[in-house]
Symmetry: C2
Subunit: 245 residues, 2 copies
């Protein structure tokens, strides 16, 4: 049960704080907490999810825990083996081409729609996220870059005012976060700096309501990111490849 001391202590503290709940609040707390931990790979793919354990941790009965788990399962973040275990869903490397295709399409569509539909306040919201991303890049906070980049693009999607796209895009970006987390140690800072510039161009195109430009910028941006992920996954780090034997 208790694998690493420090992390468990941390969690216990969390549990203590949550001893008292407002009636329906517990389940969303559990849901959001687990969701974050899954996306941030604190709970790596394949981790077993034990209801009893969570019940202890959050000081709740198994019923609300279960409800949170059902929601996570509906989102595909966890997988339940009936009558047996429930585990954090694996990252589907086989399905990566589908993922890239959908991600690219959503980048384009949401950016297009933002340019076409944005209203008062939307640009401000986008700029807030862009500043946060910039800050993360400057301070070389790789994990921060990953999550603020996501927030930036979701802000754009929201300006586009289409809930179906926002929902799918959110899921895709969060799945992307999981993947990027796997490789974040390989991040260098040339690409992120480039992203800052690309983001700025996109914002400008949106402001100018230039749908066509927004589209092509988003498309190029998506290609960049997809290419980045691809290169991390297929990176050739065989130190001994050219060794004379």
């Amino acid at each position: 049960m208790s694998s690493t001391a420090s992390k468990d202590d941390e969690r216990v503290e969390e549990a203590e704080k949550l001893q008292t709940h407002r009636r329906g609040s517990g389940v969303s707390t559990v849901y959001e907490t687990l969701r974050n931990e899954i996306i941030e790979l604190k709970l790596p793919p394949g981790s077993p999810i034990d209801e009893q354990q969570l019940s202890d941790r959050f000081a709740l009965s198994r019923t609300p825990i279960r409800e949170a788990l059902v929601r996570l399962a509906a989102e595909g973040l966890i997988t339940t083996l009936t009558n047996r275990a429930t585990i954090v869903s694996n990252i589907d490397f086989l399905g990566l081409p589908e993922f890239f295709d959908a991600l690219t399409l959503m980048y384009r569509v949401t950016t297009r729609l933002a340019a076409a539909n944005y209203a008062d306040g939307d640009i401000a919201a986008i700029l807030v996220q862009q500043k946060a991303f910039e800050a993360a890049v400057i301070s070389r906070d790789v994990l921060g870059m990953i999550s603020t980049n996501r927030d930036f693009h979701i802000a754009i999607a929201q300006a586009g005012r289409n809930r179906y796209y926002v929902e799918l895009f959110t899921r895709l970006l969060d799945e992307g976060r999981r993947i990027l987390r796997l490789y974040y140690s390989s991040f260098n800072d040339v690409l992120p700096r480039q992203y800052v510039g690309e983001h700025e161009e996109m914002i400008q195109a949106i402001i100018n309501r230039d749908v066509t430009l927004a589209d092509s910028l988003a498309s190029a941006h998506a290609d960049q990111i997809v290419g980045q992920i691809r290169s991390y996954i297929t990176a050739d780090s065989r130190q001994n490849a050219t060794l004379a034997l």
Copy 2:
């Protein structure tokens, strides 16, 4: 509760049959049954969902009922007012433009991908659905047309091999079924006959792997359907509009 006698009898029989369940089967039965009834407007938007009542109907405790409801809520098919009632979600007429936009995009993308990616057996599966649609059109079974049309396009989407699109498209088509059900009495048979032809063209384009043609056919088809829904919604049936007063 008891609106039409025959259908309620049917339900009772259903319930009786389910007196014994394999361990995890009850919840998916409840989920699927309710899902269908919502989409087919047997449970109209705004209908209260009473957990106790469902518990009686399916001869299950409230716990598995609740799990099914959570899943339906995650899909947006029902809305839960915390601590109060849970009702069948209303059809969002305000969000119709977003819906049409996403629907059209999914029509195009899935048909494109089908042309690009279909493999052995996919065409056969599509043809089966097309035959079913044709049969529904010939026998003027409007409700059948609505559901077989959905199945036809989902078969195409599946041939395209992108689970993200399949999932979103399924949701959109089912939401469309709810809307069309509202107006199905206004169906005439000129449009459905045209759809049969359009479907055949689409199939041919897919078989020929003509992505561009598949796209434009899908686009036109989507426009047709969107236009049809629009015309139903905004239909001017004021009998007394031109009455001399």
